[in-house]
């Protein structure tokens, strides 16, 4: 609870810091310290809440999953700000506002992870989304950024409408907004067309936010048009936060009627994996490839929603962190190179060994090679799906798609190491940057060797 308050306070503080501080570097330092303070607040919350579920006015409640997730996502934000602080400040003039908006996004993420009331979920998703519309269009010189912002806003507003419609219908069927109350859980079990349609609409709205097919079409354009540091934020931290809300709502509240919506989710998984992976193969720009890769990875994370068991919760947490760390590493490389097509990466291995090696570790993790965190993420989610029992067919399909995904990830590895070329960078990475890249890669490998570090039992 403290973390939610602190995140808003830091956001407001940062908003006005632009008036006080003349230099951008001072704002950056303030933002980093703010994120570290927020991490401390979350850790405090985790210690406080670890004993039992703590509920506030039947609106929000913290259990072991949401508290752990909040700590993890804040940790990722600290790393994100450290790696991208200069890039964020370089987007435009109003750097203090960009940082403030990032903290507002975090506030939304906390609400999503801890809601017990459908209205809080709605509020959380809106607080998470609106700053993104602004950030997507923050590069005012670039027409593609405008396009991304407008597109995202229109599509986002549309999906918000669908979400609201779903919530209304579910409310109509159950007569309660509180998704953990007995009345709600009893009412949802009695078969009712109203609640089915409501659940379906909510699922589609969530699918939109996590860019799952068939409502993923906005993703490539928005990710490609937005400034790269903002894309990195949207593809990782925002996406995994929405996933936590998704799994929470569907497992804890709609879990008893899983057979109703599991079919829908399984169709989504198949379509998302297929579209994401196949289209990613044909991309020439690495940034666009990462957009499609994020769709494909979302398809894998949907397995956690699909399989109703404890393994899927752990799997989702691990997968989310693994995916975030690895994607941040690749996006860091994308912001560094001048030309972020595959050709622009040629010869990176010779000229910048540290950046190249850490990027390769991130790519291996995204592919799911053992010894990296990505492997255990995939392992847990596949285990969850096999445990589920009736879904071996989809598991085989997912594995086939994972093999295909190695094509576009290894194509980049091949560009970095095996092709002749002169990869040009925007700026030489200094030793501080290199240290961060190495820390990121080391985290990936540590989690790949000891996945038990992130587990909630």
């Amino acid at each position: 609870m403290i973390a939610i308050v602190v995140s808003v306070l830091i956001g407001i503080l940062l908003m006005f810091s632009g008036l006080i501080f003349q230099k951008s570097s001072q704002v950056q330092i303030l933002a980093i310290f703010g994120s570290i303070a927020l991490l401390a607040a979350n850790c405090y919350d985790l210690m406080l809440d670890s004993r039992d579920v703590v509920s506030y006015f039947d609106m929000i409640s913290f259990d072991k999953y949401s508290s752990t997730f909040n700590v993890l996502v804040t940790g990722c934000v600290v790393l994100y700000l450290l790696i991208f602080k200069k890039n964020i400040a370089d987007i435009g003039k109003n750097d203090a506002e960009y940082f403030a908006l990032i903290f507002f996004i975090l506030c939304g993420a906390y609400l999503i992870s801890s809601f017990t009331n459908l209205l809080i979920l709605f509020l959380g998703i809106e607080i998470l989304s609106i700053p993104q519309y602004v950030l997507a269009g923050s590069d005012k010189q670039n027409i593609k950024s405008h396009e991304a912002s407008l597109k995202y806003f229109l599509m986002g507003a549309f999906s918000t409408g669908i979400l609201l419609m779903g919530i209304t219908l579910v409310y109509g069927a159950t007569g309660d907004f509180n998704v953990t109350s007995e009345q709600f859980l009893n009412a949802i079990q009695t078969s009712n067309a109203l609640s089915y349609i409501g659940i379906l609409l909510i699922a589609i709205a969530f699918a939109f936010k996590v860019s799952a097919a068939p409502v993923h079409y906005w993703t490539p354009d928005v990710y490609d048009g937005s400034p790269t540091p903002i894309t990195a934020l949207m593809a990782t931290i925002v996406k995994i936060s929405v996933f936590l809300g998704f799994i929470k709502l569907f497992h804890l509240s709609f879990g008893t009627i899983g057979s109703i919506w599991q079919v829908t989710i399984s169709v989504m998984i198949v379509m998302t994996l297929l579209f994401g992976n196949i289209t990613a193969i044909f991309q020439q720009s690495v940034k666009r490839m990462m957009a499609y890769s994020s769709i494909a990875q979302a398809g894998f994370m949907l397995f956690a929603i699909f399989s109703l068991n404890d393994t899927s919760w752990n799997g989702l947490l691990l997968y989310a962190v693994a995916y975030t760390l690895a994607s941040l590493g690749v996006f860091a490389a994308i912001t560094k190179v001048k030309d972020y097509t595959y050709d622009g990466f040629k010869g990176l291995g010779k000229r910048h060994p540290v950046l190249a090696a850490t990027t390769v570790i991130c790519l291996l993790s995204l592919t799911g090679i053992p010894m990296t965190a990505g492997f255990f993420g995939k392992y847990y989610l596949l285990t969850a799906a096999v445990e589920q029992g009736q879904s071996i067919g989809i598991v085989f399909f997912a594995v086939l798609m994972a093999a295909i995904s190695s094509y576009y990830y290894f194509r980049l590895i091949s560009s970095i190491y095996f092709k002749e070329g002169n990869a040009e960078l925007n700026s030489e990475p200094n030793s501080f940057d290199n240290t961060l890249y190495i820390i990121n890669a080391a985290l990936i490998i540590i989690l790949g060797l000891l996945p038990g570090l992130i587990s909630v039992f």
């Binding site: 291996l364 090679i369 053992p370 010894m371 285990t383 598991v395 594995v399 086939l400 091949s414 095996f418």
Partner: protein, 480 residues
């Protein structure tokens, strides 16, 4: 505890070598590989005498929640033989190619040692998750090695190899997860619980589970029709890497079938026995005929390797004790043999700058030492009596003949046909290379240097010693 050195030395040696300046890399790498050989020899000694058991096994909890253990041991003659073969191969490669390494020595040696780490890990792990991890770890350094060094088409060819094997291993992962779900009340990845879980499954489940696992291993071996990556990969990789691929990595597939697949999915293996033997035998004939048609010497050896592996795979699935024993012996002998063959091919390629046999000829006149080695190793490749190739092949054919398959006679007849074909293509290779008129570029062919002679001599010694006195290896196997 001693056994942990088998993984620790290549890991530390490999990591150090990668970070080292180029000039000091070679010494570290050779020292580490020899240290590994010594440790492996001690472990095999302990294993053979059945003493100091506590030194050759190690077990710690790795991921408690999953029941995964970091457990490694050498408890089976198959493991001991493979560990010894791996430990021998790497110092041989390093010493043979000394002063002829590809550029960026630190990267070359570092990746080679990491590949050795993965291979040794595969052969000694007793935990399925650990086994899977090492299975992939062995692949990554080899992917980089093959892509960095070799022929012009190496990048796409290696990529094909990678995608094939990666797809196979992901299928294996599903199999592992499925078996894991069916292990006792407290799930575990250990070999014994997997065997128990596998045997408790009904026949229908076993029969699809068999293919999920077998395809992964069949791609690695490779068995027809999963072999299409292999000739290209062997041809395009630099020869030191080709040796690792053909002497060791293909053994991973055979090893996994013998050690993991058949014990746990026994009924499934029996169910599909005839299909697998049929594929293997078809592969033998197919590869032998293609080998006859090759003019590129590396492709010829590659196809001959497919034929040999096919026979081993057929013998494994004959489900006959003699066939299994023959395979065990042959896995070791084939490793030594093919290593010698590749070394000689590397000498040819290095001196003549070509892989085309039509541009070779008359080498016997200028290089007698080389020719003796070539003839001897070729004889072993054909499995002539008194070379080490003979013993294993004889036992395997014998096993195949008396095996459980209902078509065993037909299979054996076709497999024997392949022995004749192998004599044909191997001897015509010897003829094209060593005899006939001297060609333009073979006139200045230098005979083996002392260093090369030393390694080839050792290989020839092993070939002859095991050919004359195979009992030494057979004693290993009887320990089971």
């Amino acid at each position: 505890m001693l056994i942990i050195l088998l993984l620790l030395i290549p890991f530390l040696g490999g990591a150090l070598t990668l970070l080292m300046p180029e000039n000091s890399a070679r010494l570290t790498a050779i020292a580490s590989s020899i240290a590994i050989l010594i440790v492996a020899a001690i472990i095999c000694y302990f294993y053979l005498n059945n003493t100091n058991i506590e030194f050759i096994s190690f077990d710690r909890v790795w991921i408690g929640q999953l029941g995964a253990h970091f457990s490694i041991e050498v408890k089976h003659s198959l493991q001991a033989l493979m560990v010894l073969l791996t430990a021998i191969t790497f110092p041989f490669i390093f010493l043979f190619f000394i002063n002829k390494e590809p550029k960026n020595k630190n990267i070359f040696y570092g990746l080679m040692l990491l590949a050795e780490l993965g291979l040794l890990g595969v052969f000694i792990s007793k935990d399925a998750l650990l086994f899977y991890g090492f299975w992939e770890i062995a692949l990554i350094p080899v992917y980089f090695l093959s892509s960095l060094y070799g022929g012009e088409r190496r990048v796409p060819v290696t990529f094909k190899f990678f995608v094939y094997t990666f797809a196979g291993s992901l299928l294996m992962l599903i199999g592992i997860i499925y078996l894991y779900q069916h292990t006792g009340p407290t799930h575990s990845f250990s070999l014994y619980s997997f065997i128990e879980a596998g045997r408790s499954l009904p026949l229908e489940t076993q029969s699809w589970l068999f293919w999920v696992l077998f395809v992964a291993f069949a791609i690695k071996m490779p068995v027809f029709p999963f072999h299409t990556w292999q000739p290209d990969a062997y041809e395009q990789s630099a020869t030191p890497v080709t040796v690792v691929l053909s002497a060791l990595m293909v053994k991973m597939g055979l090893f996994a079938v013998l050690f993991w697949l058949i014990p746990s999915v026994t009924m499934g293996a029996q169910e599909w026995m005839n299909v697998v033997i049929f594929l293997s035998v078809t592969g033998i004939v197919y590869a032998s005929i293609l080998a006859i048609a090759q003019s590129n010497i590396k492709r010829l050896v590659a196809y001959s390797s497919i034929a040999h592996i096919g026979l081993m795979c057929a013998a494994i699935f004959s489900q006959h004790n003699l066939g299994w024993q023959g395979t065990l012996i042959q896995m070791f002998n084939h490793g030594i043999n093919i290593m010698g063959m590749w070394f000689l091919v590397a000498v040819l390629e290095n001196r003549l700058q070509t892989q085309d046999m039509n541009q070779m000829g008359g080498v016997a006149k200028v290089a007698p030492k080389f020719t003796i080695a070539l003839v001897l190793i070729s004889m072993s490749n054909i499995a002539l009596p008194l070379t080490c190739g003979f013993v294993g092949e004889f036992m395997m054919l014998n096993g195949l003949f008396s095996g459980a398959s209902s078509y065993s006679t037909a299979f054996t007849v076709v497999a024997c046909l392949a022995v004749i074909l192998s004599a044909y293509y191997t001897l015509s290779m010897v003829r094209k290379v060593a005899y006939g008129e001297l060609k333009e570029n073979t006139k200045k062919f230098n005979d083996l240097t002392n260093n090369e002679m030393f390694i080839i001599g050792l290989i020839m010694f092993i070939i002859l010693a095991l050919g004359f006195y195979p009992q030494w290896l057979l004693n290993w196997i009887n320990i089971i």
